[in-house]
Amino acid sequence: MSNHYNMPHLPTAKSPRVTIEVDGQNVEVPGDTNLLEALKAVGIETPHVCYHPYLPVSGNCRQCLVETEGPRGKALIISCFTPVKEGMKISTPRSSERVKNARAAVSEFMLLNHPLDCPICDKAGECTLQENYVEAGKDTSRLFPEVGKNYHGNPDHQFYDTKGQLRGGKRVDIGPRIFLDEERCVQCDRCVRFMRDVAGDEQLQLALRADKTYITTFPGRKLDHEYDLCVTDVCPTGAMTAKYFRFQQRVWMLSRTATISMDDSLGANIWLEHNNGYIWRVMPRCNPEVNRTWISNTSRLAFQQFAKDRLPVGSLDALKKALAAEGKIAFVLGGSATNEDAAALKTLVNKLGARAEVFVGTFAPVGTPDGISKSGDPVANRAGFALFGFTATAEDLAKRASEFKTLVSLSADLWGSDASKAKALEVIPNRISISAKNDATAKKSSTVYGVNHWSEVSGSMVNVNSILQKLNAAPTSPDAELAPLFSVLFALAGEEVTSAAIAFKKAGEFAPKLAKLSFDAIHSTGELLDGDAAV
């Protein structure tokens, strides 16, 4: 609620360095940021609840207190809102009993009216309150039965449980994708700020005041937004839970793989969280230059289709035979193909000579950037394809369809994107689909061959802002026989390449911008390609 214009300044590599005194020791920290981030930069973690690096500072949880020495003596301040200044003297709990007690007191107050139902809470294991309690909490409870709890909740949803205790609303359906548990809410205000300042559509608000405060939508409205599942990420407790993930997995059972969401050319950085060979959820992965910590619902929920309608591995000989047919061949490279796939295609096209041409993308319309985590272009790797000289689009192919005798769709669902536009391609007699999915295009093809989905391959892509980003393979392939697209294409060209690192090296031969890098050296947050290579 308070000043919603104060976005935190985050330190960068270029931040000026200042010296401050922390617990009696001089340390050098980034100078253009807040104390919490500065301390984090030198390895001192400060527990916090309401602070989020990509949300305006609201300063209401009071968990990140540190002690500072000023002209009027020592005072407790919140480190998330205090800018770093040269020569500041800071005490953390390591040297100050007062800070330790204050943080313990805040931790106690935070948990006072919070239901301690961690064993059945979906957030358990990744809950900020749990982490803070371990770090800064008290070990004994001072809340006695005679005193009782005062659960937060909408008066309309409150109810008496079997022990006669008034409880807040559980499992409140506040939107099509989210359940709200009112009594678990600690009124940190993060979801309100996310909807207001990031999503730009204020749909949540804290109602009433004092210990009757509860989170709610506006009367008669639901929480419904393309980014609404991000509130489950920013929620430090189990108050906001996603319906699709509710009671599916304990979070500590999940392993995660860092990769890129290949449904948009911004290339949102994501974690694929999987267990037992299944992806259970997709979480945003922080990348300050790309999607910060946000991903759209479309990117987040796309995983539900990854393992469905898969093509089985086909016969390589049948593919070779189909490609050997007379006439010109049109290759259509789908937007989710990696640079390695493009390099393999380039190798194959060079081998086939002048009778092969490459087109990229499908007939899916190109939208506009939403300023959060989507550029609107469904051809995720368009900039990467341009490095290999692949710029002609599926629309171009549709105009010249009659020239070709063979159509090879590579993970490109032409008929699925726009069947009416794809009708022009039906004049091409010989149609091949090499794809992960048994989609509309595969059904229109005479020869099909199954490959790995992008979530199951390692590789690289170049996003719309010329940032080279790395995909890692999640071990969720439904069939061990499936291979990545690039190795199938290399096999068609008569080469055996199964590792993305080698394929990336080959990509460097065609795209000089990539030659300077090695696959393993690509940073998890990407590498900015210099110059005008990628448009």
Partner: protein, 436 residues
């Protein structure tokens, strides 16, 4: 005290609500050419020389506060009058607005000239309907008489005053919460900096002053500065309006010079005329101030420094007297209920802690207290210290700590009513039933 020396309440009981009556009593004499011939800095300098301190509770020098307001920012300067009087025991603004609204308008014109402001808001508590009516009537008269509006007294100075009705939240007396409320947002204090003097209402420089502060200005500008500084103590000049309530023979609103002995206020014929029963304690400045024991009252004087030295606050001048028929647990429970109800719900310690303290006090009152509850209350109080955006948590934290120390016997007596008070408490068992 003579009426002529009363800075704020001189017109009380003289039907000064109408502009004719007010002018007959010497009103609007300061709104003249001589005021507008003074530069803004001379006006501020005069207030600084008079040593006027904010009457809302903190006692910050008004002239200094005004000098913090930046000039030439390209944004308008707003003056906001804080008439959101909600502190327990305080009722001075209510009567000041009701009895003498024109003095407020006169003071605001002086303040507006000093700050170069075009617009002033009177943020009145929502329940003050008669006062709002009285002020609105006075505003209409002042507009008609040419004291407000465009080009006042033929000068280039134009000034407008608007009355804004609050929705009745105690916390909106905190200046940044007041500004939020004025802007139409939820009344919750803002993080500082920026301070309101730099970026307040609509991110413009804003000066928030108490009603009594503004109403002191006409007197200061119509009398020599020395006459004002003569009153009061060397560090706090002038007079203060005290609202005395509780166990005294004649409770009411009294204006007295700062530094008046507390016992004189309570016992003299001019003021309260004596205490009923045996004095048990005095809350010197409104419900958030820790109380004074009778022996502390003996030498206490009513000014900021003396009260600070006694580890309490001068506050808004609301003196609440209670005798030994009252129990400290009851008083503290009332405070617990009030502050837990009025917490804005922003900071964790205040939002959850004030309710926690209230529930502990309730359990003691129900006869379910245990040994150790006093320490628990003091522990809760310690958790409030300096950990929140605004001082509301300390408004309960201070009394929690001091009442349990000074009137420990009362608490022990109540706790002893529980036959099992010395037995170890049952630890709450975490056993959650099926509740969905």
């Amino acid at each position: 005290m003579q009426d002529s020396m009363k800075v704020c309440t001189g017109n009380f009981g003289k039907h000064a609500q109408s502009i004719e009556a007010y002018k007959k009593l010497g009103g609007y004499s300061t709104i003249s050419k001589s005021l507008f011939e003074m530069s803004q800095f001379e006006v501020i300098d005069r207030v600084q020389r008079a040593g006027l301190r904010g009457r809302g509770g903190a006692g910050f020098p008004t002239g200094m506060k005004w000098s913090f307001v930046p000039r030439n920012t390209g944004k308008p300067v707003y003056i906001v009058v804080n008439a959101d009087e909600g502190e327990g025991g305080t009722y001075k603004d209510h009567f000041l607005l009701l009895e003498d609204p024109h003095r407020l308008i006169e003071g605001l014109i002086i303040a507006g000239w000093a700050l170069g402001a075009r617009t002033a808001y009177i943020y009145a508590r929502g329940e003050f309907l008669p006062c709002i009516e009285s002020v609105n009537k006075a505003l209409n008269e002042a507009y008609a008489a040419g004291y407000l509006g465009e080009n006042i007294m033929g000068t280039k100075f134009s000034f407008d005053i608007f009355v804004h009705r609050g929705a009745g939240a105690y916390i909106c007396g905190e200046e940044t919460a007041l500004i939020n409320s004025l802007e139409g947002q939820k009344g919750q204090p803002r993080l500082k900096p920026p301070f309101p003097a730099v970026a307040g209402a609509w991110a413009s420089p804003t000066c928030v002053n108490n009603v009594e502060t503004i109403m002191s200005l006409p007197w200061i500008f119509s009398h020599p500065v020395e006459e004002y500084t003569k009153m009061g103590t060397p560090r706090a000049h002038g007079t203060k309006v005290f609202c005395v309530s509780g166990d005294v023979k004649r409770p009411g609103l009294y204006e007295a010079p700062l530094g008046t002995p507390l016992m004189e206020m309570l016992t003299s014929e001019e003021y309260c005329q004596g205490i009923i029963g045996n004095l048990k304690g005095v809350i010197p400045g409104g419900s958030s101030c820790p109380p004074l024991l009778p022996e502390e009252c003996e030498n206490a004087t009513l000014d900021y420094e003396c009260m600070a030295s006694l580890k309490t606050m001068f506050g808004s001048g609301a003196i609440i007297v209670f005798n030994d028929t009252h129990n400290a647990v009851d008083i503290l429970d009332v405070l617990g209920h009030f502050y837990s109800h009025e917490s804005c719900g922003q900071c964790t310690p205040c939002r959850e802690g004030t309710g926690f303290a209230k529930r502990v006090l309730d359990s003691i009152l129900r006869g379910e207290g245990h040994d150790g509850d006093i320490e628990l209350l003091q522990g809760i109080s310690a958790g409030f210290g300096g950990t929140t955006i605004c001082p509301l948590s300390i408004s309960l934290g201070g009394p929690l700590n001091v009442y349990t120390r000074k009137y420990r016997a009362d608490f022990e007596e109540y706790i002893a009513k529980n036959p099992n008070h010395a037995e170890p408490r049952l630890r709450p068992t975490v056993r959650l039933g099926a509740y969905w």
